[in-house]
Amino acid sequence: MGSYYDGQQSGPFAGGDGDPFSAGRAAGSAGLTGRPPGFMGLQSSSFADFLGSHSPGLLPSRTVPGLGTDGGSGQAIRDLPHATTIVAAVCEHGVVMAGDRRATLGSMIAKRDVEKVFRSDEFSAMGYAGTGSVGIEFVRLFQVELEHYEKMEGRSLSLEGKANRLAWMVRGNLGAAMQGLVVVPLFVGYDEEADRGRIFSYDVAGGPYEEHRFYSIGSGSLFARGALKKLYVDDMPAGDAALACVQALYDAADDDSATGGPDMTRRIFPVIATVTADGFRKLSEAESEDYAQQVVQGRMAAPDGPTAPLRNGQPPSGGHA
């Protein structure tokens, strides 16, 4: 036998004197009538719920006392790095999501190589726009939330269940959002039952709003959505959808100073991910570079990019422009 534990010492999560459950333990009734030691009695299928009852300080969704009541702290919030444009498009049997790489600090560029598109679980992905630090915490919490549910229940949440869960988390951030720590996610996933990709958008108060075909969020989203509207074709192959997304990001970067275009000199390209029946896949650097090169080469000849046919019924002009 190795080391022997006499069981007298409390576990790391056994709680202190203020723990309402410790009374039950002291009475020696742990296994049957009282709460078992530590968090054995606190388990939940939702990690965020558990966190809220066990250590609420770890939740990202919390307001900062006194923040936003004077001009100085408001300025501090505005000076936090912000993430910008994310686009998503449903493709044949799946969905594609892409994000630019820029984070801004007011009118300055805070970072050129941030990643804002993440795997949330095997069959879904999320991106976010807004305050970078809060967004990162959101992504981390949501990833653990989905995995935790899967391990606790032995099955994955349905895609709608995941989208609703994310809405609840966004809603929980409303107080902080009112103080200026705004973060808005975009959620995409492969619906195994329906064999298709789906997109869900949110506002600061939650959601989800299901979007059809394509969507974009962030500062450059208007331009990106306008571009996607003209480029998108129903049931595009994943590769075409990825190219359309990169075109849309280029157009967003063209007109929005907070969105970064492909950085050919530093070799920083948009992050592209696909979610299909095969699961989540983030495209490799080389694949992203290839799409970015195609777009940039095309723009050398036609700076405004491919044009859509003026009259219905004509084939898309991208091929013969």
Binding site: M1, G2, S3, Y4, Y5, D6, G7, Q8, Q9, S10, G11, P12, F13, R25, G28, S29, A30, G31, L32, P36, P37, G38, F39, M40, L42, Q43, F47, F50, L51, H54, S55, L58, R140, L141, V144, E147, H148, K151, M152, G154
Partner: protein
């Protein structure tokens, strides 16, 4: 008013331990062992929904025997422990050692403070980047924890199962070899009454060293049948090839057919294992 009898602490602990041991001994043993590509866990389990083997974290798995409601509770607590540690710090800060310690403390507390101890035995295994980083911990109902390098058998008949596993175990086995060793160990006399190894009665899972992110993977249905076949093919030629004559073609199934004359340990790996042990000159059953 009746006076309560005095029970010495030694007696109380002994009673609790006997009670827990009896509860655990009602179930069949399970095994966990290292193979070249990771860690394999095999449990006899007729249910495909009520698992004995589960994922705890990226590189960590959990296996248990005993009362389902009790170890399920512990499993969920372990997942919670792992998830909150990984969320609070970083994913690679979650270790099997930490989880094993937490289980040991929890079970120890329950054993000493509660009237009824948990009737469970737990194994926590972690697959490392290299085989040298693999870890297997066994935690018993009273909170004792042992570090088991290479392989472990746990549950009611752990000693017999472990002895058989020790014979077959070697470092760097392939998955099929390790699976064959596990099957032969689980079918030693005394570990349940099932003579037949069928996929529907087994729960098999691996921690796959080669996989990124979450390494835990269940092996079921077609893949499990395939693995049973592979492990038999590995060991069968040693026992059946010496027959060399016309009936040899039917030897693998033929050796199973006269069940009353065969060893009482079930088919396949254990049969042929004994066959090879008998030496080359004796075909299994010429009749």
């Amino acid at each position: 008013m009746s006076m309560p009898f005095y029970v010495s602490p030694e007696q109380a602990m002994r009673d609790k331990a006997d009670y827990a041991r009896k509860g655990i001994a009602r179930g069949r043993s399970c095994v966990a062992l290292q193979y070249a590509g990771g860690i394999l866990m095999v449990a006899p389990n007729p249910s495909s929904a009520l698992h004995k083997i589960s994922e705890i974290y990226d590189r960590i798995a959990f296996a248990a025997v005993g009362r389902y409601n009790e170890y399920e509770n512990l499993r969920k607590a372990g997942v919670t422990y792992a998830d909150i540690t990984g969320y609070q710090f970083a994913r690679h800060d979650v270790t099997a050692r930490g989880i094993a310690n937490w289980y040991a403390q929890t079970l120890g507390t329950i054993f000493t403070e509660s009237n009824k101890p948990f009737e469970v035995e737990i194994v926590v295994a972690e697959v490392g980047e290299q085989p040298s980083g693999d870890q297997i911990y066994r935690i018993t109902f009273d909170g004792s924890v042992t570090d088991e390098p290479g392989f472990v058998a746990f549950g009611g008949q752990a000693d017999q199962v472990s002895a058989q596993l020790k014979e077959r175990y070697s470092d760097g086995m392939s998955l099929a070899e390790a699976f064959g060793a596990a099957l032969s160990a689980l079918s030693v006399p005394g570990n349940g009454d099932s003579k037949e190894v069928v996929a529907s009665q087994l729960e098999v899972a691996i921690l796959d060293r080669a996989r990124d992110h979450r390494t835990f993977r269940r092996i079921r249905t077609a893949r499990l049948d395939e693995l049973i076949g592979e492990s038999r093919a590995l060991t069968a030629p040693a026992g059946t090839a010496p027959a060399g004559t016309a009936p040899a073609g039917t030897a693998p199934s033929g050796s199973n057919a006269p069940a009353d004359s065969g060893p009482p340990t079930g088919p396949g790996p254990s049969n042929s294992d004994r066959g090879s042990g008998l030496g080359d000159g004796t075909p299994p059953n010429p009749a």
